[in-house]
Every structure is written in structure tokens, then in C-alpha cells.
């Protein structure tokens, strides 16, 4: 494990939810980020509104590793209830800052760490009159202590605070005062800064963004006008961000809305709305999580078979059933890949950071239109609801929205040939569609029941099969147009790690750490399903393959085997992580070494 040093440590803050800690904690994270140091903040919260334990962890890394490392160097143990288990996570030589207003006996203290007692609640009661202030400002008192101990830049910190309370001057003053109380207490009682602290660096050109925010921007920029959705953690903020952006950037000169967002009665209706809108020529999407996907499944089969575009942002969470709704997993892979009855298959995209959520999110709309089928963007709570340090968002040079094969009125009206909805004119398995309301010549009857290439109802086995086989051919041909995997080849490596999505960032740290020990590993980051043709060729080059995924059953491995890119032999291994918490580099290192017999 990397030893804590300047700009290289893990800070965790344990709170009770509903006490206003979130804004204080992000203030600390953002200050470090603005000082030019890489951070990876993670929010671990309960499915509850008030009163349960919640943690905020900030990975600070000079080397630029922003995934979870494992272990804690500095713990703000601000929740008495979890003090004991919180202390257990602190590594030897680490620090625990706690509220010494309540007595903590030496017997209760861990021996190999330093306890820093600050009478936070007493200080709050002495300095503030109102009860809400006495509660909320306690958070700012420990921010003040941290500011000194970790050497946070005062100017940056205060600048951020002023931005935050620009419209509430009295609150700004109270917050400043609380920070000051903490800072003064630190000056009077502790030696500071600690050996590991933050030092200002030239700021790299990175942004701090949540995956869900990035997906909302993708929908905005891809030209989505219709959204049907139903609230479910952790997907809700996708639509909240989209709504916010639409109100800012999609209001006409007359003050009217160039979008329609409908909170539906359930997820079945949400996807029904998306299909109706896409069928009628708009771009539409929904954002949901596992339980919603289950409800939508009948419609996914319909859309696959009737060839209606749709974009689904699946922000995965812990299942089965309601599972742990505020914890992260990658456990909807099999569900989404073949969602619905009958012989269906769907396109899945796997972004690994928010910048990619934006890029693949936009591409999802193009692919859905081009291939006339549902496209799933497979994010997860970890990626969706945490801020990631990532590259600024950039539109692809010269790339315009691609609506795929549509025959518009002018074209239909002058054409001599009749229009048939499911005819494979170009030999790529992709037929032409027409928009309702434009021309009688383009009319067809969209149905989930057996249809032939003319779009007519049929129960003829031959015609039914012909159509179904064309759809399969469409998917087969489309594989090479899907996002390519990212391949990080290490010469002489005989082992290949395969991973996707939110596992990649901590994996990067694990692989670098192992490399320092002389263990060579290549990395294949999957970006799409069905698998890109490059995948099989790369996999074939290695003696051993380790698939890293965040579910219990090895769903990606199952998919790779089912789709024939991997034969189930002794050379294939799995690292499975399904605790619900973001995966840690130390965990990965340990398990990879174990598999390699090192």
C-alpha cells in the first residue's frame, strides 16, 4: 500500500445523514482539487433520509490515482455509533479526529493510531445560539481543524465558501466563524500540519463531474427532447440534471419548452413513453436502475423485434430485489443483454468515467437511431453519483447527430417504388423507417406480432424466420461499429485483466502497484456488448485471463463465454467484488496476486 505522504493519503469522514455534512465535506474535497491535487471523493450513504451512518471518503493522490485505495490514514470519526468500526479501518500510524465532548477512555482507543480530541459539540454550543446552527456548524468546525492539520489553502477554502453562500451573507459569516473556531482550537492544541498534508501544485486541466450529470449533458447534446422516467436511486439525478439543463438551454425565444419530461406512473409507462416518442421521430430516453429494467422488459423485446430506437441509462445498484439500493454493483449485465422473452439481444455500452458517460451517452442515441433498437448505457451508483476527476467534455469535431435510415416525406412522395418497413435494401440488415404524420406512402403498422419484410402480419414460419434472421444479421454486422475496447498492452505480460466501468480506475492503481513488484499485466477495458471483433483476438494472445467485475456470479464472464469470445477453460479466472462499496485497489491487488499464486 502506498505510504501516506504529501498529497498522497486517504481521508474519511464518518457522519450521520441528514445533518448537513455533505456540503462541508465537498468543501474539503473541492479545496484540495482547486489546489491542483488529484482527488477521488466517494459518498457512501444509506437508504434513509435522516439518522443513519454515512461516510465520505477522499482519496488524495499526487500520482493521480482517484479510485479507492483501501484503508484510511485520517478518519474524522464524527459518528459516535460507528466510532469503533471506523477506527478499525485506520491504518497503523494514522489519525482519528473525534468529538471529545463525550469522554472516550484509553481502553476504547486503538493503540497504533493517534487520537485527536476536539470538543466539537461543546464548541458549537458555546459559540452559537440557535439549535440548527449548533447542529450544522459542527461540520464546519471539523473543516476548520482539517484546514490546519492538512494545510488547506485558506484563500481557496474561503473562496469556495463565498461562492457557496453568495446569496446568504449571514450564513456565510456563521460558516466562516465555525471554521475559525476549529482552526484556532487546532493551533492551540495540536502540532500541525501533519506529515501527510496537501501542497499546492500546478492545476492539471481536469474537471470534477458526476457520471449522472454527464449522462444528462449527453442527452442534452444528442438532441433528446422526450424523457419518461420514474424516480429510483441512483438514477434520479440523471433526470434532475437533464431538467436543469433543459430549463437553461432549451427554452425558446417565446419562453416555451423545447423538451417534454414526464414523470410516469411506473417504469413500464416510462419506457412506453420513450418508444412512442422514438417511433414518432423524436429522440427519447429514460434513466432507471435494476428494478425498473425488470418492469420494462416486455417493451424491450417489442422494441428489439419491431425495431424501435430507445436509449436507457441504467445506473446499476445492489440487487437482488431492492437489495441495497444506495450501494453500487455491476449486476444487471445478463438482465440487460438479453432482456425480454423470445430471442432478444441488446446493445450495452460501458463508460468507465464521466467523460465517457458523456461520449458514450451521446453515441447511444446515434446507435439507437442507426440500428433501430434499444441501447443501454450501463453506469452504476459509484460512477453515477460520485464526482470523478476527468477530462473536460468535448464535442467530436465535425460530428453531427446521425438519425440513421429515415425516409422523409419529400423522398417518399416522389419515389416510384413502394415503401416497405422491414426490407433489407442495403444488405446490412438495417431497414428504412418513416415518421408518422408525414406521408401516406410511408405508412406501416408497427407490431410485436409476427411480421414479414413488408411489415404485414404473418404467421408463416418462413417469413417469420427470414425477418428474425435479418435482425440477427443486423446485430452481427453492427459489432464492428460499436465502441472498441481500450487495450493497454504490456510487452511480455502473459496475463490479461479484463474489466469495465467503475472497476477501471482502482484497477489502474492495482496494476501499477503490481508492476512495481515486477508483476506484468495487460488490461482490456470492455466498452460494448455484443463484443467488438477485436476482443476475441486480444483474448487469444494471453495464457491467463482475469475478469474483474462487481457482481457475485461473474456475469461478464458468462456473457463472454455465451457469446463465444472466451472458452471456459482453466486459464480463465474471476475477481468478484459485490460488497456494494466502491472497489479498492488493495482488494484487487490481493486477489490478483492470489490467483497468480504470488
Amino acid at each position: 500500500m502506498t505510504k501516506p505522504s504529501v498529497n498522497e493519503f486517504v481521508l474519511r469522514i464518518a457522519n450521520v445523514n441528514g445533518t448537513g455534512s455533505a456540503s462541508a465535506n465537498t468543501l474539503v474535497a473541492k479545496t484540495i482539487f482547486r489546489m491542483g491535487v488529484s482527488i477521488g471523493p466517494k459518498n457512501m450513504f444509506p437508504s434513509n433520509i435522516q439518522g443513519l451512518p454515512t461516510w465520505y471518503e477522499i482519496r488524495v493522490s499526487q500520482q493521480g490515482f482517484t479510485g479507492r485505495r483501501g484503508g484510511v490514514d485520517f478518519m474524522v470519526a464524527f459518528n459516535g455509533e460507528t466510532l469503533k468500526s471506523d477506527a478499525a479501518d485506520v491504518v497503523a500510524g494514522g489519525y482519528i479526529l473525534y468529538d471529545s465532548s463525550k469522554f472516550l477512555s484509553d481502553a476504547e482507543k486503538k493503540k497504533d493510531v493517534t487520537y485527536l480530541g476536539v470538543p466539537i459539540s461543546d464548541l458549537a454550543v458555546t459559540h452559537f445560539e440557535s439549535v440548527p446552527k449548533r447542529i450544522f456548524l459542527q461540520n464546519l468546525i471539523y473543516v476548520g481543524v482539517l484546514a490546519r492539520l492538512l494545510h488547506l489553502d485558506q484563500e481557496v477554502l474561503m473562496g469556495l465558501l463565498s461562492d457557496q453562500y453568495a446569496k446568504a451573507k449571514d450564513l456565510l459569516e456563521a460558516n466562516r466563524q465555525a471554521i475559525d473556531i476549529g482552526a484556532r482550537y487546532c493551533e492551540e492544541h495540536f502540532a500541525y500540519p501533519l506529515s501527510f498534508h496537501v501542497e499546492k501544485r500546478p492545476k492539471p486541466d481536469k474537471i470534477l463531474l458526476e457520471g449522472n450529470d454527464a449522462l444528462a449533458l449527453a442527452a442534452l447534446y444528442a438532441g433528446a427532447t422526450v424523457c419518461g422516467w420514474y424516480p429510483i436511486t441512483p438514477s434520479t439525478s440523471v433526470v434532475e440534471h437533464f431538467t436543469r439543463y433543459c430549463h437553461k438551454y432549451r427554452i425558446s425565444a417565446q419562453g416555451k419548452k423545447k423538451f417534454a419530461i414526464v414523470q410516469a406512473e411506473d417504469e413500464i409507462a416510462s419506457i412506453g413513453i420513450v418508444l412512442g416518442a422514438c417511433w414518432n421521430g423524436a429522440r427519447a430516453f429514460t434513466a432507471t436502475s435494476g428494478p425498473g429494467i425488470s418492469l420494462m422488459s416486455e417493451f424491450f423485446g417489442y422494441a428489439y423485434y419491431a425495431e424501435v430506437p430507445a436509449v436507457i441509462f441504467n445506473i446499476q445498484r445492489c440487487g437482488p430485489s431492492t437489495g441495497m439500493p444506495t450501494r453500487s454493483q455491476q449486476a444487471d449485465l445478463l438482465l440487460c443483454a438479453y432482456a425480454s422473452h423470445g430471442d432478444t439481444k441488446h446493445i450495452l455500452l460501458f463508460p468507465e468515467n464521466p467523460t465517457e458517460c458523456f461520449e458514450l451517452g451521446m453515441q447511444a442515441f446515434d446507435l439507437a437511431d442507426q440500428l433501430q433498437t434499444p441501447v443501454f448505457v450501463m453506469s452504476d451508483l459509484e460512477l453515477g453519483m460520485n464526482q470523478f476527476l476527468c477530462d473536460p467534455l468535448q464535442l467530436k469535431e465535425g460530428a453531427a447527430i446521425n438519425r440513421g435510415k429515415v425516409r422523409r416525406a419529400a423522398d417518399l412522395d416522389k419515389s416510384q417504388k413502394p415503401f416497405y418497413r422491414y426490407e433489407d435494401i442495403d444488405g446490412d440488415g438495417i431497414p428504412y423507417r418513416s415518421y408518422p404524420g408525414e406521408s401516406g406512402k410511408g405508412a406501416y403498422f408497427t407490431r410485436g406480432s409476427g411480421h414479414d419484410r413488408f411489415g404485414r402480419y404473418t404467421e408463416s414460419s418462413e417469413l417469420y424466420q427470414e425477418n428474425l434472421d435479418r435482425i440477427r444479421a443486423k446485430f452481427e454486422k453492427a459489432r464492428s461499429t460499436l465502441p472498441k475496447p481500450r487495450y493497454v498492452e504490456v510487452e511480455e505480460a502473459r496475463w490479461l485483466i479484463v474489466a469495465f466501468g467503475s472497476s477501471i480506475e482502482p484497477l489502474r492503481e492495482a496494476i501499477c502497484g503490481l508492476e512495481e513488484q515486477g508483476i506484468l499485466l495487460s488490461l482490456l477495458c470492455l466498452k460494448s456488448f455484443p463484443f467488438h471483433p477485436d476482443c476475441a483476438a486480444i483474448l487469444d494472445r494471453y495464457d491467463h485471463i482475469i475478469i474483474v467485475e462487481q457482481n457475485q456470479q461473474g456475469q461478464m464472464r458468462t456473457l463472454m463465454q455465451a457469446e463465444g469470445v472466451l472458452t471456459p477453460t482453466a486459464r480463465v479466472h474471476s475477481v468478484l467484488h459485490y460488497s456494494g462499496n466502491p472497489i479498492e485497489a488493495e482488494f484487487l491487488k490481493k486477489h490478483i496476486q492470489h490467483i497468480m499464486g504470488i
Partner: protein
């Protein structure tokens, strides 16, 4: 090879509407329903209504769910796009379609199973959202396509073909629509085109959610004695607050010879009128409370109330309430929708 020129009989020219289209232009593929099925009469009534209103066929979107009734959009308006959705989910698909393009007419056909059971939630929410659409339920009290199970609109203590008694209370879709705020609510009988066609024309001319519950006997599974949805039973028990309904298009509405007291006229959004010839002088179709009371009284007497129960021609639809921009959303181009890299740079800056 030789050929004979057979002298063709000149067919009698069919009447044309103001678009120059004949009634045949409003038809679809031949029906594959059972001979005598009420649903086919409704199809014909839709064809007539659209023809007489000179509706541009391709400007209609035909929406349906699953069932014998939901197949019928294949049998009318062949030049219109249709969406035969999954069972009970037509309202959500229509919602999406209507959000994408507010300028089309949405003509939906469903069954009592499709709407009254599996799709009851979606039906109610479509009303609540005030979609501008015509929603027809072809109500036969059974699941036709799955061969005769009771539906949720089957009356209490009626029997099925196997003489089994229905022990459950019925859902009255008309009452529900009134309660939930549908702005045009009617019930008709597939066997009475004189009443049905004007009601459909009125619904198509109305702005807002128009609901038509059309009793439509299933000859194969629910036309026996003991059923309250048989041709015989409906003919015997039908009761109307009006003995006739006329639809008067906007141009003619001005010259209308109107007899107050005997007639009730209801102005619709597009300037046309529905003219009701009253049998009950106290009936007021703009009062939802009276409509509900009338329905309850008829039910208590064992009568089947039909007619136009309620119209609110000042109702607002979704897009008016939501303040959507003019024209179809789906016609907006990339320049209207994407804020461009300059804005994206600003967004990036705020995240730095």
C-alpha cells in the same frame, strides 16, 4: 397468346369528401375478426366519421394494445401509421408519440381487458395527463382473443358461455373517466351507427381527452342469454338522455336551426358542434356531477345509459399546460437542441 377485351362496367362514382377522397380511401386491410363481431361495426363507424370529417389519413396515428379490438386499427386508415403496442400499455406509447408531435390526431382503440385490467393504471394516467386523443374502448365484457374469460367490465352475476357466474363487481370505465377529468365522455353501442358516428366525429373534433366506451358484443363468447353485453340485452336495456345526436361541422354550425329546450348544442374546440336531441329536458352535458348522477340512476334501474354524458370544450391539453414550444418536438433540428461547444466550455469551467 391472345387477349380479349372485356368491356368493364362503369362503377357508380363514389361520393368524395372535401379532400377529393372516397370512403374507400379510409379503409384498411380486410378484417379477420369473427363475422358479426361488434368491433367490425365500430371500424366502419370510424371509417365513416373520418371520411365525413375529411381527415387527412396520414395525419392520424392509430394506437392500440392487444386483443381482438386492438387489431382493428389494421382495418381502417391504411395510409396512417399504426402502433399495435403490448397488452395494456397503449396509453404510455401514445403519451410518448403525442409528446414528440403535438400536431397529429391520436386515435386509439383498446378493449375492456386491455384497458380495464392490465392497462387500468395507464388509462387513468393518460386521462390525468390530459392527452389530446380519442380513446375508444370496444367493450364486450370478455377477453375475446383469449377465448371468453370474464373481463373487469362484466356485470355482477352475469354468466359466461359455460354458464359460470361472475362474482365480482364491474369497473365502469365511463364513471372512472368522468371522475378523473376526461373532457369528452360518451358511451355508445356498436349496433347503432346513427349514434356512434356523430359521437366519434365529436371526439375527433374535441381538444383534450375524449373517451368513448362502445358496447361491442362478442358473438363468439359473450352473446348468450345471461350476458349483459349481448346484442339482445343491450338493445333491450339501452336508455339515452338524448334520442339522437348530430354532428355539425364548423361551417354549418352558423346556419344551424336550433330549438332550445328540445335540443342541446355543445360547441367544440374547432368550431363544430354536437347537437343533442333531448328526451330528458333537465339533462346538462356540461355538468359532470349531473352526468355521474345520471349514470348512477340508470345503473340502479338496470338500464344501459348511452349518449354524450359530458363535454368541456374549454379543457386544456398537456402541451398547453406544459408550455411546449409550437410545432412537433421531433422536427427540431440539432441547432435548436444542442447548445454547442461554447456552452460546453462554460459548463467545463464551472466544474474546474
Amino acid at each position: 397468346m391472345f387477349s380479349i377485351n372485356v368491356p368493364r362496367l362503369k362503377s357508380i362514382p363514389k361520393a368524395k369528401n372535401s379532400l377529393g377522397l372516397s370512403i374507400d380511401d379510409y379503409k384498411g386491410a380486410p378484417s379477420t375478426l369473427c363475422g358479426g363481431c361488434g368491433h367490425d361495426s365500430i371500424t366502419q363507424a370510424i371509417v365513416e366519421a373520418c371520411f365525413e370529417l375529411s381527415i387527412v389519413p396520414h395525419q392520424v396515428a392509430k394506437m392500440s394494445g392487444i386483443g381482438c379490438s386492438s387489431k382493428t386499427p389494421g382495418y381502417f386508415l391504411r395510409e396512417a401509421h399504426g402502433f399495435n403496442a403490448v397488452h395494456g400499455r397503449m396509453p404510455s406509447v401514445t403519451t410518448g408519440a403525442y409528446l414528440a408531435n403535438r400536431e397529429m390526431k391520436y386515435l386509439a382503440v383498446s378493449g375492456d381487458g386491455d384497458t380495464g385490467s392490465i392497462g387500468l393504471g395507464q388509462f387513468m394516467h393518460a386521462i390525468r395527463r390530459q392527452l389530446n386523443m380519442v380513446y375508444i374502448v370496444e367493450n364486450n365484457g370478455v377477453y375475446g382473443l383469449t377465448k371468453g374469460q370474464f373481463s373487469a367490465t362484466a356485470d355482477y352475476a352475469t354468466t359466461n358461455k359455460k354458464k359460470e357466474k361472475n362474482g365480482w363487481l364491474p369497473i365502469d370505465l365511463v364513471g372512472l373517466a368522468l371522475e378523473l377529468g376526461a373532457s369528452y365522455v360518451a358511451r355508445a353501442f356498436s349496433g347503432d351507427k346513427a349514434q356512434l358516428v356523430p359521437l366519434i366525429k365529436g371526439a375527433l373534433s374535441h381538444k383534450g381527452f375524449a373517451f368513448l366506451d362502445v358496447l361491442s358484443p362478442c358473438v363468439s363468447f359473450n352473446n348468450h342469454q345471461g350476458s349483459s353485453k349481448s346484442y339482445q340485452h343491450i338493445r333491450d336495456k339501452r336508455e339515452a338522455a338524448f334520442d339522437a345526436v348530430d354532428f355539425v361541422p364548423p361551417a354549418k354550425a352558423i346556419e344551424l336551426d336550433y330549438q332550445p329546450g328540445m335540443q342541446e348544442r355543445v360547441q367544440l374546440f374547432d368550431g363544430s358542434q354536437v347537437l343533442l336531441h333531448k328526451t330528458d329536458h333537465s339533462y346538462d352535458p356540461t355538468d359532470v356531477e349531473k352526468a355521474l348522477a345520471y349514470l348512477r340512476q340508470a345503473k340502479a334501474k338496470g338500464e344501459i345509459a348511452t349518449g354524450l354524458f359530458y363535454v368541456d370544450s374549454s379543457a386544456e391539453d398537456f402541451h398547453t399546460v406544459y408550455q411546449t414550444t409550437e410545432g412537433p418536438l421531433r422536427n427540431l433540428e440539432e441547432v435548436d437542441l444542442s447548445p454547442g461547444q461554447v456552452v460546453l466550455d462554460k459548463i467545463n469551467d464551472a466544474l474546474r
